[in-house]
């Protein structure tokens, strides 16, 4: 009888798509600890992205420019609307705001070095401006955040631009938390808080609410800085059309739109994965708002969240952005998640490419830490050189594409250069599905 049972074909074990192994593991972890998962980085789930778009390139109706021979300009000027001194950049790829505190001192220095060598700007973060990053950054954007940690008028006047942070793509509507293990003496002093406590970064500004107040806040900042420097307004992508329109109405020189793939130093995983819009979906509505108000190219649009390659840069610009900002990609260029630290990642219970416990301060690469021994692993000169190289490569890639589409400036890229591989991407980017002249929402086929 037993022999017969062994011969009966068995039903293969089937994993539940709903209760997958990662989901079940998270349920068990939550049950064991009583706390939600906190991590760094941006959305890891697959969402429609720039990979779902293709450039069409030149054809009978368009002729290309000669690669390496015919000029394709990459410069961009940000803040031309009201500022006396707009920021002039050699390339349309900027470094997004990341704080000293979240990042080590050598990492901040490396970001400044790399950005400056590539002719672009870098940005402070929560906790204020350090002398090191000001000293190593030719163009430095000063973030004006809800927490106002380290905020002071002297540093405000040293900045080349001010970025009022309303939200960020990883957590629109949420604040932040720098956990106690990263609060060194210096970080504590800069933020006027005791060492070792969890430092909450507020989710909304303490002294204004709504666009009418924001207009007055911008007036105050301009008065304090003699109307010299551009004022950016950064929002997490949620209602891109209206947020862009309201930022323009409030007097912004530049709107920064950060999609859900944009990283954070530390936030609940549930927030990162379930709140906000994919970067691809917010560009056209933001551009539409600028066009409807007659200020497209007068108020510049900076897009961030998951920019990795020159192709991503070119696609964002083709959809109407003036520049992009990178954060996670810049950290990877510095050395984050490098395979050479694999054995140490495994000791932390993770692996190369998946390490995201940036809030715990144990980063083997010395980037997202305040531990002096770990931080010393990062040589800011070498890391800055790697970032410079990466920025240059992305720029060359974007130029290659632009020339192939027949453009002598990256800003001449346009939606007509693109098609989409999926219905979702076609709808979001408002470019035709590949091989058709149609996208969802557009009449005719």
């Amino acid at each position: 009888m037993k022999d017969m049972d062994d011969q009966i074909p068995r039903t293969l074990p089937i994993q539940s798509a709903t209760f997958s192994n990662p989901i079940n593991a998270e349920i068990r972890r939550a049950a064991a600890t009583g706390i939600y998962d906190i991590r760094g980085g941006g959305a890891k789930r697959k969402v429609p992205h720039f990979d779902d778009l293709l450039f069409l390139g030149a054809s009978v109706s368009r002729y290309p420019l000669e690669g390496y021979r015919e000029r394709c300009d990459t410069s961009v000027t940000l803040g031309t609307r009201f500022a006396k001194k707009p920021i002039e950049l050699d390339i349309p790829i900027t470094i997004a705001g990341m704080s000293f505190g979240a990042l080590s001192g050598p990492a901040k220095e490396a970001l400044g070095r790399g950005a400056s060598a590539a002719g672009t700007s870098t940005t402070t973060g929560d906790g204020g401006m350090t002398p090191e990053e000001r000293g190593h950054s030719t163009k430095l954007v000063y973030q004006y955040l809800p927490s106002r940690y380290g905020m002071n008028p002297n540093d405000l006047r040293k900045a080349d631009a001010i970025e009022i942070v309303v939200g960020q793509g990883a957590k629109p509507g949420g604040g932040g938390m720098l956990l106690g293990q990263k609060i060194s003496d210096r970080v504590a002093e800069m933020r006027t808080l005791p060492k070792g406590i969890d430092q909450r970064s507020a989710c909304r500004h303490p002294d204004w609410t709504g666009p009418d107040d924001l207009e007055i806040k911008i007036l105050e900042l301009r008065e304090i800085t003699d109307w010299q420097v551009p004022i950016y307004v950064k929002v997490g992508a949620t209602r891109p059309y209206y947020d862009t329109a309201l930022a323009v109405k409030a007097g912004a020189d530049v709107v920064v739109m950060d999609g859900m793939q944009g990283g954070t130093a530390a936030t609940q995983d549930v927030f990162i994965e379930h709140v906000g819009l994919p970067t691809l979906s917010c560009i056209r509505p933001a551009v539409q708002a600028l066009q409807d108000l007659g200020v497209h190219r007068e108020v510049q649009l900076v897009i961030s969240g998951g920019i990795r390659t020159g192709a991503d840069v070119a696609k964002a610009l083709a959809l109407g952005a003036d520049a992009v900002a990178i954060g996670t990609a810049a950290l990877v260029a510095l050395g984050d998640n490098d395979p050479k630290w694999e054995s140490e990642y495994q000791k932390l219970g993770t692996t190369t490419g998946a390490y995201d416990d940036w809030h715990e301060g144990q980063d083997p690469a010395g980037i997202t830490t305040q531990d002096p021994d770990l931080a010393a692993r990062l040589d800011p000169v070498d890391a800055g050189r790697r970032l410079r190289n990466y920025l240059k490569v992305m720029t060359l890639e974007a130029q290659t594409i632009a020339r192939a589409c027949g453009h002598n400036h990256l800003h001449n890229l346009e939606p007509e250069d693109l098609c989409a591989l999926t219905m979702e991407a076609a709808a979001m980017a408002r470019v035709p599905l590949a091989g058709t002249s149609w996208y969802p929402g557009k009449d005719g086929f």
Partner: protein, 227 residues
């Protein structure tokens, strides 16, 4: 005495003139007439000068002040002396929301009442309110002293860090992690000094002190009901 007619000559000229002063200036006394509720009056100053505003102001009067003494002969809108670093700001009338928000230093005196969120996220500033303060005052206050000679509204000191709160009258309710604390001799001395500098005849012994219980400084799931 330099007199500046804000209505006639405009905000930009006013602030650029005041910001141009330094420690060696002989233009140490300024009077601003016709403020008419304008926003961002006397912001970003960084010199030991005295400025008197002859009337009421809008948002952010004396914002980010350093060194200057700014007196408002009227009431002020939201965010007076926000992020002040040093110096003094004295308001004869009432103050709207967020008075002294995120201030790092200096002394803010409000001789009338202050609305909600007075001293929100304060980081070292001293604030003395002769009258009452509204709800959610000293929310997430990090450092400095908030002295209230009258009553305090709901949720005083919610999520407080290391700022000290002194209230003479009633407190409608305390916010999360804010508790009454012992008034020790050193606190009485701090209070006496602040009351003297703010021109108040209130007695330090009439006040109660409030501060952080420090139970929410590091996240603990067992405290989640407090959030």
């Amino acid at each position: 005495m330099q007199t500046y007619d804000l209505e006639a000559d405009g905000l930009r000229g006013l602030n650029s003139s005041l910001q141009a002063q330094n420690a060696e200036t002989n233009q140490t006394s300024w009077e601003i007439v016709n403020p008419k509720g304008s926003h961002a009056i006397a912001v970003g100053l960084d010199a030991p000068i005295e400025v008197t505003v002859k009337g009421s102001t809008g948002y952010y009067c004396a914002g980010m002040n350093q060194q200057a003494t700014i007196k408002v002969e009227g009431s002020v809108g939201p965010g007076v002396a926000e992020n002040m670093m040093s110096g003094q700001v004295i308001v004869d009338g009432d103050a709207s929301q967020y008075a002294g928000a995120t201030g790092h230093g200096g002394l803010l005196v409000i001789k009338g009442n202050a609305s909600s969120r007075c001293g929100i996220s304060m980081k070292g500033i001293d604030i003395v309110v002769h009258g009452n303060i509204g709800h959610m005052s000293a929310f997430m206050a990090q450092a400095g002293n908030l002295v209230v000679c009258g009553d305090a509204g709901d949720a005083l000191g919610d999520s407080l860090y290391e700022a000290r709160l002194f209230v003479r009258g009633s407190v409608k309710s305390l916010g999360a992690d804010c508790i009454e604390k012992e008034m020790r001799p050193e606190h009485l001395n701090i209070l006496k000094d602040l009351l003297d500098r703010a021109g108040s005849d209130a007695k330090p012994e009439e006040f109660k002190r409030y501060g952080s219980a420090r139970q929410l400084y590091n996240f603990d799931i067992d405290n989640s009901a407090a959030y």
